[in-house]
């Protein structure tokens, strides 16, 4: 996943005058088109600059706040709190906020279209901000995983998640975007799937999900900075077996 392009290392070296006050006024050097230029650090670490679009799937409105289907929204809220990004803009039927983790710019988005039409907001958003497919991270609820188990996957299917199906459809039918699957467990017995998804969490489940979200934030940060590597595998393994420890 590391698309390490070697741009000239001197291209991004500003000499900022020390007496410049206005923080908001950033001088954009004209040569600074190279969004994906990597900046070799003294240690040789290259960090991507291509922006990431982190989308959380959910239903808008207070009625659906805290339901199982809206864990994606909750994840985005957590990330925005953690990274200090304010979600205050509405564009393309979504509530968005721009910020960065380290050197990597990220765009947090909460589509305000109902779940089945989330793609209508995600697709145009990704196209407008020219986010490549491999940098779109979708956080959504996954019934195949037990409650509170997260998984960072580089690609995958929709698993009968209507929101994800719609997003895939609007991303020109591509499945190769990374996702953060947040496990919510199977509906018990013969319970209706839709009813299960629109239920709120029980007390213990709520605690598990909160803990999971804490862990998830760190994982997202690591992913954005380093891409998919052995630490992601470790994270996935840790999540898979976190309830099997005594």
């Amino acid at each position: 996943m590391l698309y390490a392009v070697s741009g000239p290392s001197t291209s991004i070296s500003y000499r900022r005058s020390l007496d410049y006050h206005g923080f908001h006024r950033r001088r954009l050097a004209p040569a600074r088109l190279c969004v994906s230029a990597s900046l070799p650090d003294a240690n040789g670490i290259k960090v991507e600059y291509t922006p990431w679009l982190i989308v959380g799937l959910g239903n808008p409105g207070n009625k659906y706040h805290g339901t199982r289907h809206n864990v994606g929204f909750e994840m985005i809220d957590r990330i925005s709190q953690e990274e200090g990004i304010l979600l205050n803009t509405i564009q393309s039927k979504a509530l968005i906020g721009i910020g960065s983790i380290g050197e990597v710019p990220i765009l947090l988005a909460k589509p305000q279209a109902y779940m089945n039409f989330s793609g209508e907001s995600v697709g145009p958003l990704a196209a407008y901000y020219q986010v490549p497919l491999r940098h779109i991270l979708v956080a959504y609820d996954e019934m195949n995983l037990p409650n509170g188990v997260l998984r960072l996957a580089p690609r995958g299917g929709h698993g009968y998640h209507n929101g994800l199906k719609n997003v895939m459809g609007h991303l020109d039918g591509c499945r190769e975007f990374p996702r953060l699957c947040i496990g919510i467990g199977n509906p018990p017995g013969t319970m209706d799937m839709k009813a299960y998804l629109l239920q709120k969490f029980s007390f213990e489940e709520r605690k598990q999900i909160d803990a999971a979200q804490e862990q998830g934030i760190g994982a997202v940060r690591n992913l954005v900075l380093n891409g998919f590597n052995h630490s992601t595998t470790r994270f996935n393994l840790g999540q898979k077996y976190k309830y099997h420890k005594v």
Partner: protein, 753 residues
């Protein structure tokens, strides 16, 4: 009577052999008494013979009566065969040719004295050494039987025998094969009668003629490469022949996948008699399909290896529990290895206990504690009875990366089955079995477990420290420290992070704005820098490095702790020497690899906290974050600004954090806003071409999506791509060379047209 005519003239009068007038009514033929006079009378055999005898009698009488010359008859007689007196008469030929009587003998048979019978005496096989005897050997690999003439040791099961020496046998041992005192295989019945004894030997290369009926179907010998044919060979490699090509394999497997003729392998694995069954399958078909279920699937590699070794065939395809065994190109059923069959189930040996009370160096209390913990543990998976457990070993290994104890649910299986599975896991995943209670397998990782993904050591230590020091207010106090100009001067050009540094460096205090940094991390980075600047001048690069490294090293801990950690680290170094300046970079370098420094940093933070008490808390409002002030987000912000100007986006003011309000506004806005661009999948060819031409530091997506931005019609985009294709091709290569294989048919047509 034929009428004689002067000229041969065909007589067209119908000849009526049956003397039946044509006009007469025809009755049915069968069992009709009235029809008797019209039925042909067939002469009985007796009548025919009587006729022959009568005629001969009359002929001989006529001949005697008509003797003309005595001389001619004598000469004729003399010309015939001469027999001297005393010659025994040969048996008279039967007067009716072909009829056998007591005076006639089968001309083929001859006198026993003159018969040529060769009785082949069975000489002892020179290959078998006289010392090799039939016997049982109980060794490290369990019980095995030695039979002379067989190249390997015979066992009841070749895959499931535990590789442990049994401690006892439940019964006195015996060889489960039939007696070797007779040449024929022992069937428990009387020998076949001689008429049925001789069975035609089956040669795989001599197939029955294709049209022959009532013969079981036989597949021709193995697929031959062009120019080769079946060969009578004996050695294993020769029988296998050349390695199969991929198409041949595909063909063979396809023909076999849906066949219902298969061999089943169960909890006993590859038994001895199964070898014979495999050869029986190979008599008729080239590929033998073996379906494995249950215990033997835990170690499919061993099963494959044993199959290939013992049968001499090759496993061409295997998926899940199903294996396809190919017999070999030059396989001949006639030359197959013959083993004696096992006619009875052999003695069951007693093996040492799988689970000890205190296994492998653990004390009894420790083991007991593990068992107690294990009772509450959630099992990682549930095994189905007679299922396929091919990935069980991998799953258990994965689970051991994370947890020490692993429990597997085996409810529904036979007790002997899950014990066998446990024994196999003990060998394959090297682990220690703790208990089998409640139909679960409980395993322990063991002391020396080799981790596949080495974990950072900081995990546990960080957690400890973060519990101790959980102060989120550290960043703001330190901010005031930024003001020290001394350090700021040192902070010179390095990175994009310089942006942050600059804000720090600015002598203007009370920059709430300064605090409105992108994220806490960067601000903490600033804190580090500022803090360092306070006590000791450091090279800017080092400072930046810390900030920069910190971002990349960030892990699962909360943001606040990290700053503490770094600050403590710095503090430690400060407390050291002036040389710490030099030491710092080294330490920082190692920080990446060894996150354990973090805990030291944590200590330092606490120290510093006490120190800095007179810090203006003016810029404490971390809450207010615009979040986009770093230059890296510049582009995004520009796009956002354009969107806002263009009416595509609207910035919400105030605290409209209520979801309903937001939703309402979003709906209202979207009705007026122009439709956004459509996301297009990046096309490979266009990408390649663009990569070639334009500098590589452009976003790939940008190139692809930009020209197609706003294009809602796919056709137009495809035309665009076709155009790109054309240009690309003309530049570099001619079509047909196929360097970029994604050329569609219609594009190709356009190019060729």
């Amino acid at each position: 009577m034929a009428l004689k005519t002067l000229i041969p003239f065909p007589i067209l009068a119908p000849s009526n052999p049956s003397h039946r007038p044509a006009s007469e009514v025809r009755f049915s033929r069968w069992n009709n008494a009235n029809a008797e006079r019209f039925t042909l009378r067939e002469r009985a055999q007796k009548e025919i013979e009587d006729n022959i005898r009568r005629e001969r009698r009359f002929d001989s009488a006529t001949r005697i009566a008509d003797i003309d010359d005595a001389g001619t008859s004598k000469e004729a007689a003399a010309a015939g065969t001469f027999k001297s007196t005393g010659t025994p008469s040969s048996p008279s030929k039967p007067s009716i040719p072909g009829k056998s009587s007591k005076y006639s003998k089968n001309p083929k048979t001859s006198h026993p004295a003159f018969r040529q019978i060769s009785r082949r005496t069975k000489l002892p096989d020179p290959n078998i050494s006289p010392e090799a005897k039939r016997g049982i050997s109980i060794g490290e690999d369990g019980v095995s039987y030695m039979v002379p003439g067989v190249p390997f040791e015979l066992r009841y099961s070749y895959t499931e025998t535990p590789k442990v020496k049994p401690i006892a046998l439940r019964e006195p041992p015996f060889l489960p094969f039939g007696p070797d005192t007779m040449p024929r295989p022992w069937t428990g019945r009387a020998p076949l009668p001689p008429s049925k004894k001789k069975l035609k030997e089956f040669d795989s290369f001599q197939l029955p003629p294709p049209g022959k009926k009532r013969v079981k179907p036989v597949q021709a010998p193995g697929p031959f490469l062009p120019g080769a044919g079946p060969r009578y060979v004996r050695s294993r490699e020769e029988i296998l022949g050349e390695p199969l090509t991929e198409e041949e394999i595909k063909e063979l497997v396809q023909g076999c996948v849906k066949s219902k003729r298969q061999l089943n392998m169960g909890r006993d694995g590859l038994t001895h008699n199964m070898l014979d069954n495999i050869h029986a399958h190979w008599k008729r078909r080239r590929v033998c399909k073996i379906k494995c279920k249950g215990v033997c699937t835990v170690d499919m590699d061993n099963v494959r290896q044993q199959l290939e070794e013992k049968t001499g065939g090759k496993v061409i395809y295997g998926k899940g529990g199903v294996l396809f065994l190919f017999r070999g190109r030059n396989y001949n059923y006639r030359n197959r290895p013959r083993f004696p069959l096992m006619l009875w189930k052999p003695v069951t040996p007693v093996y040492p206990r799988l689970v000890q009370r205190a296994p492998e160096g653990l004390t009894l209390e420790e083991a007991g504690a593990m068992r107690k913990k294990g009772r509450k543990l959630i099992p990682i998976c549930k095994l189905a009875k007679n299922g396929v457990y091919t990935d069980l070993v991998n799953n258990v290994r994965e689970a051991f990366e994370e947890c020490e104890l692993v429990r597997i649910n085996c409810q529904g299986l036979n007790a002997s089955d899950y014990r066998k599975i446990g024994a196999k896991l003990k060998d394959l995943v090297p682990c220690v079995l703790i208990s089998f209670e409640h139909e679960h397998i409980l395993m322990w990782r063991g002391r020396d477990w080799k981790f596949l993904h080495p974990k950072p050591e900081d995990g546990c230590k960080e957690a400890k420290k973060s519990e101790n020091n959980s102060e989120a207010s550290i960043p703001p106090p330190f901010e005031g420290q930024k003001l020290s100009a001394s350090c700021s001067s040192k902070i010179s050009v390095k990175d994009a992070s310089l942006d942050m540094l600059d804000t720090i460096a600015s002598p203007v205090i009370n920059e709430d704005v300064a605090m409105d940094k992108t994220e806490d991390l960067s601000s903490k980075g600033n804190d580090i820098l500022s803090f360092e600047g306070n006590d000791k001048p450091f090279a800017a690069t080092q400072l930046v490095k810390t900030a920069y490294n910190w971002d990349t090293v960030s892990d699962d801990t909360g943001g606040t702790n990290e700053s503490e950690i770094i600050l403590t680290k710095l503090d430690n170094t400060h407390h050291a020497d002036d040389e710490s300046a030099a030491v710092m970079p080294v330490e920082l370098d190692t920080m990446l690899e060894n996150g354990s420094i973090k805990n030291e940093l944590m200590d330092a933070v606490t120290h510093d906290m006490d120190k800095l008490q007179d810090i203006p808390k003016a810029s404490q409002d971390c809450g207010k974050m615009t979040g986009s002030s770093a230059p890296c987000t510049g582009r995004l912000l520009l796009l956002l600004k354009q969107a806002v100007d263009g009416g595509r986006a609207v910035v919400l003011d105030g605290d409209s954090c209520d979801a309903d309000i937001v939703y309402g506004k979003a709906v209202a806005f979207s009705q007026d806003a122009p439709p956004g661009p459509v996301f297009r999948r990046p096309r490979k060819a266009a990408v390649q071409k663009c990569e070639k031409e334009e500098p590589r530091d452009l976003v790939v997506g940008k190139i692809v999506t930009a020209p197609e931005k706003g294009r809602s019609q796919s056709k137009s985009s495809r035309n665009q791509i076709a155009k790109d294709f054309k240009e690309g091709y003309l530049d570099v290569d001619y079509p047909g060379v196929g360097t970029r294989g994604t050329l569609g048919v219609d594009e190709l047509a356009k190019l060729l047209a």
